[in-house]
């Protein structure tokens, strides 16, 4: 540490980041449950990514399934059985992972970008900008989330990107509040004043001092926002608002209901997509909470 003065600021910063990443990994390794969740997540992502290589999208297109057995029970040939059109349920669930994960992540990114933008602007500029932005945020917080998403989706029409947009536009306010409070406490700290006194512009202060300090918290909140996005997509798709050209877990459940799989006791059609949803949502939630606990020690033992 004695030759600290000779190290360039950039190298010093990187060294510090490496050290904190190592510490982070150490804390994570102690949490077996969080680690298991991470493994589950990686597994689902890998499955979603390799789906086009290990299977053919056309294999469960209704046009091509005319010769398949209808309502086949799970067997060696059809791992999770078939539906009323003879389509393999396993294939549908596999491909459904792509849409569910994509919407979950894309909608979360939109949420985080919007929320961080509003939160930083409100917290950093203060004054009337803060007042106006927070009033709007409060309004959005009160609007019932699901009905708003449903109404918006039905007005905009059924497409994947519309779903992403709908979830993003309905869920940014809580992120904005979180980021704002974080920025407010940062602004009080000395080094921002020092950066300002040294003549750093606003962009410099935000980019160099505010963003890097807000990022860890935003990261944890991202991980916790993904499962909410996935659940919302599932509900929208179940209500028939999903993209008609794509298969998602909620969409499969919608079709299972339409095909009367529940009332005719064809459990293999509606159980697997639900189990997949639960696994992914649980994994994201557990991992996100572990992340949050590591990044914010005050939350431990809660």
């Amino acid at each position: 540490m004695s030759d600290l003065a000779q190290v360039s600021p950039r190298a010093f910063r990187w060294a510090r980041r490496r050290a904190s990443a190592a510490g982070f990994w150490r804390s994570l390794r102690r949490d077996k449950l969080a680690l298991t969740s991470l493994v589950v997540l990686v597994l689902f992502v890998v499955l979603a990514v390799v789906a086009p290589w290990v299977s053919n999208r056309a294999d469960f297109n209704v046009i091509n399934t005319g010769d398949n057995p209808v309502w086949a029970k799970p067997s060696g040939q059809y791992l999770l059985g078939t539906d009323n059109y003879g389509r393999s349920v396993a294939l549908q669930v596999l491909w459904g992972a792509r849409v569910s994960l994509f919407v979950g992540v894309a909608a979360t990114v939109l949420t985080i970008v919007l929320g961080t933008l509003v939160g930083i602007s409100a917290g950093f500029f203060g004054g009337w900008i803060d007042a106006v932005l927070m009033r709007i945020t409060d309004w959005f917080l009160v609007i019932p989330f699901l009905p708003f998403a449903i109404v918006l989706a039905s007005v905009l029409g059924r497409s994947l990107w519309n779903i992403v947009f709908v979830i993003g536009i309905t869920s940014w306010p809580s992120t904005a509040r979180l980021v704002r409070s974080q920025v407010l406490s940062l602004r009080e700290r000395l080094y921002v004043d020092r950066a300002r006194a040294l003549g750093g512009g606003r962009a410099h202060i935000i980019g160099r001092h505010i963003l890097p300090n807000v990022t860890p918290l935003v990261l944890a909140s991202t991980t916790l926002a993904v499962p909410i996005s996935i659940l919302t997509e599932t509900t929208l798709a179940f209500l028939g608002l999903g993209d008609p050209t794509d298969v998602s877990w909620g969409g499969i459940l919608d079709q299972a209901r339409t095909a009367a799989a529940v009332t005719t006791n064809r459990w293999w059609y509606y159980l697997p997509p639900g189990v997949a949803i639960i696994m992914v949502v649980l994994a994201f939630t557990i991992f996100g909470r572990a992340l949050e606990a590591i990044l914010d020690p005050r939350l431990r033992d809660r």
Partner: protein, 321 residues
């Protein structure tokens, strides 16, 4: 509670309602320029028919004029006409409100059992009971409510035959009085339990963390020193303080759950707001959706107001003193 505090809260609620009304107009008249388009798209309709349709749904004039007309219409309590059968939207929604309030009310009461469980879990933090309660609530949180419904339906109604599959009462039943009531309760049991399961975890978690917040308070130590039993310390001293955030949540949640029951109602063909919403989505019947959105938002705004007022009643320190 001071009059000023009350006034501030009520004004806040009104401003939020005004915002919702504007958003509502914006969604259905600006984003979606012509809500009647889906009615005549692909059909062979004469221009005068279209014109009369547009007039019927107040679509003539500039957006600003339409907005003012919409406001005037709302002030009269008029929500416009449904595209299906040209019935009054307010009448269509009015019919659906009671079944929903019944279902949501019962399921909320059931779900609020989670509050007691949460208090106990928090009081014995880290115990076996706490661990299982927390795991249970995380698990139910991860399940889409309608999927719980599908599984419950498949298991209890189809396989075991304990409950009817759908509806408010047996079709064609001429039962009245007690037997009609029992029939309706029988139909409501499964969807109510499903909704309660979907929400019990949230109540539990909030109650638990509110309890944990109070655990380290000095007044609990004093209560113990007085010679109170452990359960008495919890009931008389910890719970009244832990209750504050929980009561707010419960009131707010009630507003949200009305809109949250959409998928479950639709699954069980429960003739309430939720099923109406999912049918209006399928139509699409935009005037009905518009009315529903306004109603559901108003419910949440009202619930928030109630939560604020309740809080100030329960916490002697609040209330703008």
């Amino acid at each position: 509670m001071s009059a000023r505090f009350l006034l501030r809260k009520v004004l806040g609620a009104i401003s939020t309602l005004a915002f919702v009304v504007t958003v509502n107009f914006f969604l259905f008249r600006v984003v979606n320029d012509d809500p009647t388009a889906t009615m005549y798209r692909g059909r062979n309709m004469k221009p005068e028919q279209i014109a009369s349709l547009r007039q019927k749904f107040n679509l003539d004039g500039s957006k600003w004029e339409q907005y003012l007309a919409y406001l005037r219409q709302l002030l009269r309590g008029d929500l416009g006409l449904s595209m299906k059968g040209s019935r009054e939207v307010s009448a269509v929604i009015g019919e659906a409100i009671w079944p929903t309030l019944l279902l949501v009310g019962c399921s909320t009461l059931l779900a609020m059992l989670g509050i007691t469980l949460g208090y106990r879990a928090g009081w014995r933090r880290g115990s076996g009971f706490d661990t299982s309660a927390t795991s249970f609530s995380m698990l139910t949180y991860a399940m889409p409510d309608f999927w719980i419904g599908m599984v419950a339906l498949g298991l209890f109604s189809v396989k075991l035959g304990w409950f009817p599959v759908s509806g408010l009462e047996d079709p064609g039943s001429a039962a009245t009085g007690i037997s009609q009531l029992l029939d309706q309760l029988h139909h409501m049991a499964l969807p109510a339990i499903v909704l309660a399961l979907a929400y019990v975890g949230e109540y539990m978690i909030v109650a638990r963390s509110a309890m944990i917040e109070t655990l380290s308070e000095d007044y609990l130590q004093l209560a113990r020193a007085k010679g109170l039993r452990d359960a008495e310390v919890r009931r008389r001293h910890a719970v009244p303080n832990a209750r504050l955030p929980v009561v707010s949540l419960s009131a707010i949640n009630f507003g949200f759950v009305v809109g949250g029951a959409i998928a479950v109602e639709s699954l069980f063909s429960w003739p309430g707001i939720g099923q109406l919403t999912s049918l209006a989505v399928k139509g699409p019947d935009f005037p009905v959706l518009q009315g529903l959105f306004l109603l559901l938002s108003a419910a949440v705004i009202l619930a928030n107001l109630v939560a604020d007022l309740l809080y100030s009643r329960l916490d002697p320190r609040a209330g703008g003193r």
